[in-house]
Point group: C2
Chain length 461, copies 2
């Protein structure tokens, strides 16, 4: 499908230095954070909005699939190429177009690294709250595509909550502008939030206006060790039943703690620790100690073994050491981590962690769970061997059981990673048929040729 004529047309429109189809480049752009690999036909590096319009018009005329790509750091295959299709990498569209501290906004291109937004904001006492784990290298375009979030979401919300407006190019190569530059606006349909989380299936975002908040003066950190998962979850429930909202509330379950023992990162945990909570509070210097005192009070209860507190950055980092060592440590279990980011209502978290324990007993592979428990959002990791057919079949059964339980608890299949290739078969479990077909119909309006990220998000029909 990708002819020399198409490559020539793309090279003419974008400049030959922005169109690559050599094997090395194609190989480099054939993967993301999933274990899959799909080789595209060409990788394009647009430098501006007009390039994106031109490439989409050529793709539309030739019915060529286009997959938008930021850092390729997504967990669900959202940025995986389509075989022999086009990849539009936004790495070169990485300018901060405007920073207006007085109105607390920043206008950015999709290739800007997430943390760069926050760093520039801090030069004027502002901050950009969404903090995905990949923030040091993820591009904001990918964050927008997946509605990324992180620990801060419990207090500050997710990417969707910090975008005022977008500029984007549809599947026909038309330019749309959504939202506004002001903190309020209700003119027309909310296409801004329709595009956020749409995983590159509706339009290619070429510019975003993000909202900033005053940076909190300080942050303090608590590490709490509990004798059981259930005790830790009950503590989380108590936190949700008092008025102080922490700016992070992260859980590591028993299996996570086992995972880090060989690395030494658990050596400073008291004997009998089976669950760990990391809790942070931020705000004015005079207020944070009061917040911490209230949180400690709520976190106190049956099964609490130890509380440690960090005020300086060094102290906080030492307390986070166990949690930070986890991602690497789990790799000892198996080569493949099937990472699900399900969400349940916080009041059901204790029951849910019990259920995860029972799953762990009934399946032969380790299941390690940790994450943003304050939102009820846990990363449930099935550690499996992809070459073991029997194990992979059991993993599928396990996922089915997991998702069924999550939904029966009033939860959702994904809190922040999205659907991509990895969860699309399950989407129909959560979203009813009429709603899904309306989503398909909406996609058809933005992308009549069905060329924007095909094979993602939607289940096979």
């Amino acid at each position: 499908m990708l002819t020399r004529d198409v490559i020539r047309a793309l090279a003419k429109a974008l400049g030959p230095e922005r169109v690559f189809d050599d094997p090395a480049t194609l190989a480099l752009y054939s993967t993301d954070e999933t274990p899959r690999k799909v080789t595209p036909g060409a990788v394009l590096f647009p430098a501006n909005h007009e390039h994106v319009v031109a490439l989409m018009q050529i793709a539309f005329a030739n019915k060529l699939p286009v997959v938008a790509r930021g850092a390729g750091s997504g967990n669900v295959g959202g940025a995986l190429p389509v075989a022999n299709g086009l990849v539009a990498s936004f790495e070169c569209m990485n300018r901060i177009v405007e920073f207006d501290p007085g109105n607390r906004i920043m206008v950015v291109e999709p290739g800007v690294v997430t943390e760069d937004i926050g760093q520039l904001a801090r030069t004027h006492g502002l901050f950009y709250p969404p903090d995905p784990g990949s923030g040091a290298y993820s591009r904001i375009g990918g964050n927008l595509a997946m509605n990324a979030a992180g620990p801060h979401a419990i207090k500050y919300g997710v990417t969707r909550d910090y975008v005022l407006g977008l500029k984007a190019v549809t599947g026909e190569g038309k330019t749309i502008s959504t939202g506004c530059r002001t903190s309020k606006g209700v003119t027309g349909y909310d296409f801004t939030r329709l595009l956020i989380g749409s995983e590159g299936t509706l339009a290619l975002i070429t510019q975003a206006t993000v909202k900033l908040l005053p940076a909190p003066e300080t942050v303090a950190t608590l590490r709490l060790c509990y004798a059981s998962n259930r005790a830790a979850c009950e503590a989380i429930d108590r936190v949700m039943n008092q008025p102080i909202i922490p700016c992070a509330l992260e859980l590591m379950d028993r299996r996570s703690i086992e995972a880090i023992r060989p690395t030494g990162a658990a050596d400073d945990l008291p004997f009998g620790t089976e669950a760990l909570l990391m809790v942070e509070a931020d705000g004015p210097v005079r207020d944070v100690p009061h917040q911490i005192a209230a949180l400690k009070e709520a976190l106190k209860g049956d099964g609490l073994l130890e509380v440690r507190e960090g005020v300086t950055r060094e102290e906080a980092q030492a307390l986070w050491a166990a949690r930070k060592s986890l991602s690497h440590a789990v790799k000892q279990y198996a080569p493949l981590k099937i990472n699900e980011d399900v969400v349940v209502p916080v009041s059901r978290l204790a029951d849910f962690v019990d259920f995860l324990d029972s799953l762990g007993h009934r399946y032969p592979f380790p299941i390690v769970s940790f994450g943003h428990a304050g939102n009820g959002n846990l990363h449930v990791n099935l550690m499996v061997h992809p070459d073991n057919t029997e194990e992979m079949a059991q993993a599928r059964n396990c996922l089915n059981e997991l998702f069924t339980t999550v939904l029966s608890f009033g939860g959702t299949l994904s809190g922040e990673h999205g659907i991509g290739t990895e969860k699309r078969a399950y989407l129909g479990m959560e979203i009813n048929a009429d709603t899904l077909s309306l989503m398909r119909a909406v996609k058809q309006q933005f992308d009549p040729a069905g060329i924007l990220n095909p094979g993602k998000l939607f289940p096979d029909s």
Copy 2:
């Protein structure tokens, strides 16, 4: 178009006591807060989701327009009937289906009065932040349709920010479910926010899951008198350049103060007051005084004539007296208030208020401006005589000038009222043609017969 057969079918589906087509009822439901009047063919009072499905299926089969209606308190004609069409009044769907304080959510039907949500929430130390001026009688369904907001928006955001999921009925009578019950979720397109602010043109919302926050312990109020509009706007700009976010920051301009003088409500303002700011801070009892001190510091500057502070509810109410008297007081000027809720970036507010002054000099009718200045959102009220053809023509010219200037400042046509019938002719000034036609195409998917609130939001094509 509304035959006896249709009325019979509706009466059979909903029960005869839920279908009215007597002249008195039709007259009662022929208006909203605009000066317009359109008589519907029948008014329906569905009691549950199934009723709404049934009425939409009948309307779809007979190609009958359906206008959803809450309290009829909208400012832009969003709930105005279509002549001889159906009005679906949600007054009877006013149940709070579920209140789950532990997960900080409430599930409500669209006919619930906005403030009732907050009142129930407060029984468990929670609150529902969106606070439209009509909140004491507006229905949450209307708030969802228009993405309503109020003074709290500066700190807490708008209706859109407090809705986790919806249940709704499309223009074909199909049931869709959007979003989730948890504080995070990214499965499928964000139809929740697509429906919020869509003014009843995409679907009829039958249930909403709203998010609640811990209620602030206390609130304190400042009333500040300035010698000029410009001095007050510069103070607002200074507030935005320090880290404390007030929970209200309202402006009354010179003309607003003139309006209340005859009522006596301005008697306690110092001589020379030409602009008034109402500023509130909320939070923990130990913290609010610090916030107030920081805000006072920022609000200090050239032209500040007086600061008064209210801590008790009575003191606060006394300070708000001038502001509260305004809506009634402006009616002395003329029988018709053309109320525009434009938004400009806060940094341009001083220039914008200068521009409004110049408008006031150049047009023969009073222009009274006040509102949510902390968001850059001003209510600009043209006080006119609807029977005076010459004056109404000048008002149209004035609105054109107003909107052109707002957009040239990087602002937006509506911050919280929406488009309805009143602003649809102007929507094309803000939203480009390709984006607008995509909005129409999306509507077509939700409402293939074009029967959901026709003649609203979109300009004539």
